[in-house]
């Protein structure tokens, strides 16, 4: 359980941190620092167990179907990394609380740092590879947030984006690799994977797995050619660089290499890929670092180079090399974090990090200068410092007798050269900043020593560098347990013999070291005296070898491709979109038949059509085709359209669907009214199109669509038929208390659906109202033009008045009998609406306005409320929403009248339908009123 606390504590603290205001700097800093200290304490309490070789575990099932447990595992390797994360975390937090200016949102900064700390601890402690990938991605995300902490600076945003893109893509590759690994092994558990190295290496998928996982590791650890994101990430605040980009996150990649060494290592593919990548990164990083003028840029390339060194060591596939790699991880984290902090101090105090503008700071910052020189000595590998020890081990490892021919002499040479370069840039760092370089310009502001909180972490780190350098035995147990875990992954195994000592006698590695120190000094002298480093814009030779440029070019290409696609598909023409839509629909309809299915027709003679049907069919067909011919004359089209609708409702009646026939008929009336009304405000004719080819193309599409749907209908109609109608027919009287199964389905079985639909109807009416509202706009009617000089024929006027009470009665009739006979709320509501609208047509708007304001908006609301409350009412009887009940009480005079709760629901439907319909038409009718008023004014 302590293990879970260890991993999850930062996340819990981050939750609290998120609630803190940014002004609470002190409490935010204390909370973050306290959390890091607590993690460190927990970790130290586990030290005895871990050093004795135990592997601590804790887990709980999370997504068992995926083989994903929330589980943590602490062994020597994880302990080493967790120590780096928590200890350097404490120091960075202390440093950051003095580094941030009072204006900056401190709580947010600490929140991100805590998130990162939690994610990083998760990576090293996860005992399941999938979980590891999850935390891995979390580190990428939190590092994105941290790099872009100064959001207002474009460079910070660009750097953050680049880092996220590269490490994120690497993370995807890693995920794919891990999935393959899980496929090979059959489990994602780290214990199982680490124990089945032989099985993995023998598997045919070994190479792709290895490549994918290496892609993830290399991109995270800034290996060539993915290294360029790291220098760009230097736009982050310095504490972030010190923490993420030297000590922890960039080490995640090499951590994973060390972690999976028992599973993936020990093969020639591993040796060649990992060691050559490491070697290239080591040399390129060290070389480019020398020519960087930005302090943090120099340190970033130096970090790249040291990461390359570690990768190279891991790639050499030798147990001792792995020990050296782990030792160097520890040492590098100490001196590099210290150096970043020192660079931050310089930046903080002088306002610049450009070495061309820094000079003689040793005078003003004596303490910082001393500390920096000591750390640089460690970085350069000067004896008596920790960097010297691991570098000696590295140099010794390059002298393997078993290496292939060109490497046998090439590797030691390259290693010595890289060591010399690292000496050169270390010398440059110290000389350019703290001593007198006559070529430097003065710094923008006169520095003085920073507060103790910024110096203390550096001092502590330098102290560790020196102590380890003098007494390497003190890290002996730590290194041994980490190496044991990395080499054997929890399996029994014997560590190779090695000795942590300053003096190994006069041997070849020592000679190489001395050569590197001298050579590095001379190199710097040459560049400084002969060429003048300050005049170089970029590193000679390698300045053009730039992964960043290629990356940006590819990114730009991708962006222009996306823009091209977008422009091609979305040119702003709705006509085009509709065409795409129709084509896609056609394609989607045809796809199954093109792929495998086939339409089966049974060419049986079918039922012979009656004369009535044939006649109706012919008229309908002709009317439909006539609309195509006449659609430019809109009024004529409307008449034809009405005829088609009318014939459709006749067809419904003919095919035993009276409810449908009634609804279709009444909707047809309302629709025609509505379209006539709108036509008043629209051109009466369609202009012919300019592009003739469109007509032909659309006709082809239309014919295809028509043929397709006809074929589909024919195929369906000739198939044997089995329906679920029986269920509804059997249960309509028993459960719904009605004999009209259609109505029972609408108000009872599928009442939820109906509730949604009347809500849509009501919303549509309100949208129409809003669209035609004129407040704040010039009168719509004036813009639309058109004349309003209709006369209202007397006969119609009188007939309509007489019809009104009759229609009301008919609506009531339809509503009341709907449950057992054709009718129901929809039909009744439409009939009622038609009766009211007829008055507008027959009497005119003013006549209606004098008698009623025609505002049926409340009807929509009341109708929906009633329908909804009917549903809620069933809760009172502990039944689900919209359960209906019924009874047939005996009423005086009327006899048995069905009374169901669905009746109330149906009344709600009626009110909404009537309200919505009248509101819609009334909104359009009012347009002419506004025009008149405009005219009157």
């Amino acid at each position: 359980m302590q293990l879970a606390w260890l991993a999850l504590l930062p996340f819990l603290a981050a939750l609290v941190q998120a609630a803190l205001p940014n002004s609470a700097r002190r409490s935010a800093a204390w909370l973050a620092g306290g959390t890091a200290l607590a993690v460190l304490g927990l970790l130290l309490s586990q030290a005895p167990a871990v050093f004795s070789g135990a592997v601590l575990r804790w887990s709980t099932p999370w997504v068992p179907a995926l083989g994903l447990d929330l589980g943590f595992r602490l062994d020597g390797l994880a302990w080493l990394f967790a120590l780096l994360i928590s200890a350097i975390g404490v120091l960075v937090l202390l440093y950051a609380s003095y580094y941030l200016s009072p204006r900056e949102p401190a709580a947010r900064f600490f929140l991100f740092l805590l998130l990162f700390m939690g994610a990083m601890l998760g990576v090293v402690l996860a005992d399941n590879l999938l979980l590891l990938v999850v935390f891995w991605e979390l580190t990428s995300l939190s590092s994105f947030l941290l790099i872009a902490f100064w959001q207002k600076e474009p460079a910070a945003r660009a750097g953050a984006r680049m880092a996220l893109l590269i490490t994120g893509c690497g993370g995807l590759a890693l995920l794919a690799g891990v999935l393959l690994l899980g496929h090979i092994v059959g489990s994602y558990s780290l214990d199982v994977v680490l124990a089945s190295g032989a099985q993995i290496r023998a598997h045919p998928l070994y190479l792709p797995t290895l490549l994918l996982i290496l892609l993830g590791c290399f991109s995270k650890s800034a290996q060539f050619p993915f290294h360029f994101w790291l220098p760009n990430a230097m736009t982050a605040p310095t504490p972030v660089s010190a923490y993420l980009h030297s000590a922890t996150m960039v080490k995640a990649g090499v951590f994973l290499l060390a972690r999976l060494y028992p599973a993936l290592g020990d093969s020639s593919a591993w040796f060649w890929i990992v060691s050559s990548t490491g070697l290239a990164t080591l040399l390129i990083g060290a070389y480019v670092a020398l020519f960087k003028h930005d302090l943090k840029g120099l340190l970033a390339y130096s970090t790249i180079s040291h990461l390359g060194l570690i990768t190279l060591l891991l790639g050499l596939d030798q147990p001792l090399a792995v020990v050296a790699a782990l030792f160097h991880i520890l040492n590098h984290a100490c001196f590099k974090a210290g150096l970043f902090m020192a660079a931050g101090i310089v930046d903080h105090e002088t306002g610049t990090r450009d070495m061309r503008n820094l000079n003689q700071l040793g005078r003003y910052l004596p303490v910082t200068a001393t500390l920096t020189m000591l750390a640089c000595a460690a970085m350069a590998g000067v004896p008596l410092f920790n960097g010297f020890l691991s570098k000696e081990m590295f140099l010794a490892q390059t002298l393997q007798p078993g290496l292939p021919a060109p490497l046998r002499w090439g590797l030691p040479l390259a290693a010595t050269l890289a060591a010399a370069l690292s000496v050169a840039y270390s010398v440059r760092f110290v000389h350019d900043v703290f001593f007198n370089n006559p070529r430097s310009r003065p710094s923008p502001q006169l520095p003085h020593e920073p507060p103790w909180g910024m110096r203390a972490p550096v001092a502590l780190l330098v102290l560790i560098c020196v102590l380890v350098g003098l007494m390497p035995q003190m890290v002996g147990p730590l290194l041994a347990s980490a190496a044991q875990a990395s080499l054997f992954g929890g399996q029994p195994g014997q560590l190779p013999a090695y000795e942590l000592a300053i003096w190994h006698g006069l041997n070849l590695p020592l000679g190489m070291s001395v050569l590197a120190l001298l050579g590095g000094g001379l190199l710097y002298l040459f560049w400084h005296q002969r060429v003048d480093l300050h005049t170089l814009e970029q590193s000679p030779l390698l300045g053009r070898l730039n992964g960043q440029r290629g990356f940006e070019r590819q990114l730009a290409r991708l962006r222009s491709l996306a823009a091209l696609l977008t422009r091609g598909l979305q040119n702003g023409s709705l006509q085009r979109y509709l065409l795409c839509f129709v084509l896609m629909a056609l394609l989607a309809g045809a796809a199954p038949y093109l792929a495998q299915c086939s339409l089966t027709f049974s060419w049986r003679p079918g039922s012979p059509p009656g004369y009535v049907f044939s006649a109706l069919w012919l008229i309908g067909l002709l009317c439909t085709l006539a609309t195509l011919h006449a659609f430019r004359q809109r009024l004529l089209t409307l008449v034809l359209l009405g005829a088609v609708g009318l014939l459709l409702s006749l067809a419904f009646a003919y095919f035993s669907a009276p409810d449908l026939a009634m609804t279709q008929l009444s909707v047809e009336v309302v629709t025609t009214l509505l379209m006539m009304l709108s036509l008043h405000w629209l051109p009466k004719e369609s202009r012919p199109e300019r592009q003739r080819w469109r007509t032909g193309r659309d006709a082809l599409i239309a014919i295809l669509a028509g043929l397709g749907s006809a074929a589909l209908v024919y195929a369906v109609l000739t198939q044997p038929f089995d329906s679920i109608a029986r269920f509804y027919l059997e249960n309509a009287p028993a459960l719904g208390g009605g004999n009209n199964a259609v109505n029972v389905i609408i108000v009872d079985f599928r009442a939820y659906d109906t509730l949604g639909e009347i809500a849509v109807l009501g919303i549509a009416a309100l949208i129409i109202l809003a669209l035609l509202r004129e407040r704040g706009l010039p009168p719509l009617a004036a813009q639309l033009g058109g004349a309003d000089n209709d006369r209202h024929p007397l006969m119609l006027s009188v007939a309509a008045r007489l019809l009104l009470p009759l229609a009301l009665l008919a609506a009531l009739h339809f509503y009341l009998r709907g449950h057992n006979q054709p009718g129901g709320g929809f039909v009744a509501g439409l009939v009622l609406a038609i009766a009211l609208l007829l008055q507008y047509v027959a009497q005119g708007r003013q006549w209606m306005a004098a008698r009623s304001d025609g505002d049926l908006r409340p009807w929509i609301g009341w109708g929906l409320l009633l329908a909804g409350l009917t549903g809620v009412g069933s809760w009172l009887f502990a039944a689900p929403f919209l359960t209906s009940s019924y009874d047939y009480p005996r009423w005086p005079l009327f006899g048995h009248v069905p009374l169901t709760s669905a009746m109330a629901f149906d009344l709600g439907v009626l009110l909404t339908v009537t309200g919505a319909t009248v509101v819609m038409l009334n909104a359009i009718v009012r347009l002419s009123a506004s025009k008149e008023s405009a005219r009157w004014k």
Binding site: S614, F631, S678, V713, A725, I745, E757
Partner: protein, 113 residues
């Protein structure tokens, strides 16, 4: 008769699609209306075209439920009819509004250049 029904749906669909692809909003709305006729008829026909089947349960023919018309597609189509009315109304008003704002009844809100 099956062939005739299929042709009816096909004609309605084809005409609807053709008019939907026209440039003027009103033509588009007419097309949509035709298309919704086609779709409603299509849905209805999924319960088969039955002539003279009983739509209302009257207790006398209850012994043979196969004699009744299929109520489910009817219920679906009934609400679909009302919803397509709402859609037509909304489109019409959008057309009005667009014309008031842009002075054009072209689908794209402006006359093609």
């Amino acid at each position: 008769m099956e062939m005739m029904l299929a042709l009816a749906v096909g004609t309605l669909t084809g005409s609807g699609v053709y008019l939907m692809l026209r440039a003027r909003v009103f033509d588009l709305i007419v097309g949509l209306t035709l298309l919704s006729y086609a779709v409603n008829l299509f849905l209805f026909l999924m319960g088969r075209a039955r002539i003279g089947a009983a739509p209302i349960l009257d207790g006398q023919r209850a012994a043979n439920l196969a004699e009744y018309a299929d109520p489910l597609p009817q219920a679906l189509v009934l609400t679909a009819i009302v919803i397509s009315f709402a859609m037509t109304a909304l489109m019409l008003v959008l057309a009005l509004r667009t014309r008031a704002e842009t002075g054009s009844d072209h689908v794209d809100g402006e006359e093609p250049r």
